[in-house]
Symmetry: C2
Subunit: 342 residues, 2 copies
């Protein structure tokens, strides 16, 4: 099973079919062709087992039909986006190339360098602060870049985001409605706009309700399970621990739940919990977790549409699309019991 000597080319097809190379090329690209020729070409292709070489076509036409996506990790959110994008793009004859940087700045830079070598037709990026400069370079070179999840403020580029601030406000308002006032937040790394916005929404809600905002109730969980776990430890060891908790992604929630389980705390009796992102397992937990769910489907569709329209007209001014999250009430939040120390 040795690599076959050479794959048949369009030249072989032309010769076999007794037509010109350009006729074959046109046939392959769907340009109308005289019927007799078309049939002979089809036979030749079939016999030779010819498959057009996408790379040669790409080189000539300066369109690789490859789209990249760059994410820190493939967690449930990013892989859901990835799966849908891959499917959608394939339907348009494009291919999705995946890059993961694991949050490492050096790797991010390497990847951008790598990418500019690749001549992708477009790129989706989950925005990360260290990406600002390099990305700018990519864009200037002419690669359409579309950001999602986080925006790089001030960067003149397309983006699809959720209204993190408003969603967080709603989550915290829900807790306030249940009479909680000692509400803590475990937020992500503040170099991400989504972390900043979610924190801002949390503060908005407290301020609007006249509840004092204090750093005692704000902890950075760096988006990671481990960070969520440690944040819990610190939050709950205070003299006046929170009675309610807002965790701004699902991975930190995993960590927080691990801590809760370890200490035998009861949710929602001891602590009301609400978190950002919904995953399949959350409705099945005891208690089922109340969440802010991101509209993954809509995000993906918007990303795809935005890409297509930019591919169609590169001179379009950058557009921002903002989508709303939905608050899904389940069993992890409850009214503050009246006898709780206020």
């Amino acid at each position: 099973m040795v690599r076959s000597a050479r794959q048949p080319t369009i030249v072989d097809v032309a010769r076999d079919a007794g037509v010109a190379i350009s006729t074959v090329s046109r046939y392959l690209n769907g340009v109308p062709t005289r019927r007799a020729n078309r049939e002979r070409i089809e036979i030749a292709i079939e016999q030779l087992g010819f498959r057009r070489n996408a790379m040669a076509a790409a080189m000539k036409s300066d369109r690789s039909h490859m789209i990249g996506i760059m994410a820190p990790v493939l967690d449930e959110f990013h892989s859901a986006v990835l799966e849908r994008l891959a499917t959608r793009l394939r339907q348009t004859g494009r291919v999705l190339v995946t890059y993961c940087h694991g949050g490492d700045t050096k790797v991010m830079h390497e990847i951008v360098d790598f990418i500019s070598t690749q001549r992708l037709d477009g790129l989706f990026i989950a925005g990360e602060a260290p990406l600002r400069d390099r990305t700018d370079d990519l864009i200037r070179r002419g690669t359409p870049v579309i950001f999602y999840n986080n925006e790089l403020r001030g960067l003149w580029a397309d983006r699809v985001l959720v209204d993190n601030r408003n969603a967080s406000r709603r989550a915290v308002n829900h807790l306030l409605d249940l009479d909680h006032t000692r509400i803590a937040i475990i937020h992500g790394s503040l170099d991400a706009s989504s972390a900043v916005d979610r924190l801002a929404g949390y503060r908005d809600a407290l301020e609007a309700a006249g509840v004092p905002v204090t750093s005692d109730y704000e902890r950075d969980g760096r988006w990671l399970p481990d960070g969520g776990y440690h944040a819990m430890e610190q939050l709950m060891s205070q003299s006046r621990p929170p009675t309610a908790l807002f965790v701004t992604n699902y991975r930190m929630t995993i960590g927080a739940l691990a801590w809760i389980k370890e200490r035998g705390l009861s949710v929602p009796d001891d602590l009301s919990l609400i978190c950002f992102d919904d995953i399949e397992a959350f409705p099945l937990m005891r208690p089922a977790i109340t969440v802010l769910s991101q509209p993954v489907e809509a995000i993906t569709n918007s990303l795809a549409e935005m890409l297509f329209s930019r591919l169609g007209d590169p001179s379009l001014p950058p557009r921002a699309m903002t989508l709303e999250c939905s608050l899904i009430l389940r069993d992890s939040t409850q009214k503050l019991s009246p006898d709780a120390e206020r």
Copy 2:
């Protein structure tokens, strides 16, 4: 921000640096170059913002440095594999292209056709029965294909698998050790070797223990949450429902748990549960779910190594690598209570 007129090429660099094109090419490929030339080339590259065009290089050298991966969906398992592979491949200057078929035969075929156009250097495939013929064609064309997750029996190709049969045997033995005899299985679609093997391991264990194997306790959940849910419904509505349950992937487990939650059944009091695949949330459920965990890291490493060695020597005979799963005991299984109807 219009697409720049033209990207600088190796020719521009050569002109600017005052050296020959081939000198630049050699420099780019790490061939020793006279120092003075090297410096001038570096300056020219810097000034022009030159980036070598990977596609032109690929076409010339007949190596695209692109590796594909084809999976039905990006669930926790496949996306974990994907993430690690993408990282590992990037370290060797390669790129990972993702294809998802959602289990649709027609789409699978389209993708294989699509792929043979792409001139990938290699391809990882989560084996699926309908892929047999088309894949064979790809392999014969010279694309190294490495299967994982499911094997296509009789296909002469590399593969990395886990010992599904043995793992399942251990899971069921664990239940038998706890005195269960009415042990049910929810298995995946039997056109997948992993489903067949897991079912076989289940039967092995029962037979070895002298427990009768009955189709009353075997249900097909088609790998899906929904399938798990309905399988539960059927299994538990029997006159002698099982006292223990083995679910052969995590998605069907999700469905089974949904049914359990809905009916207010208690695990492990009413039903012991063990399942294939571990996910972040399982240790946090109440009860924490006992699982067979797949060695994702080892699987990925093996896939990568197998690819590299095949790239190095295409004439190598196909190899199969089989890895063991680990049984992680948590709280979802317990000894059958003596008063339970036997």
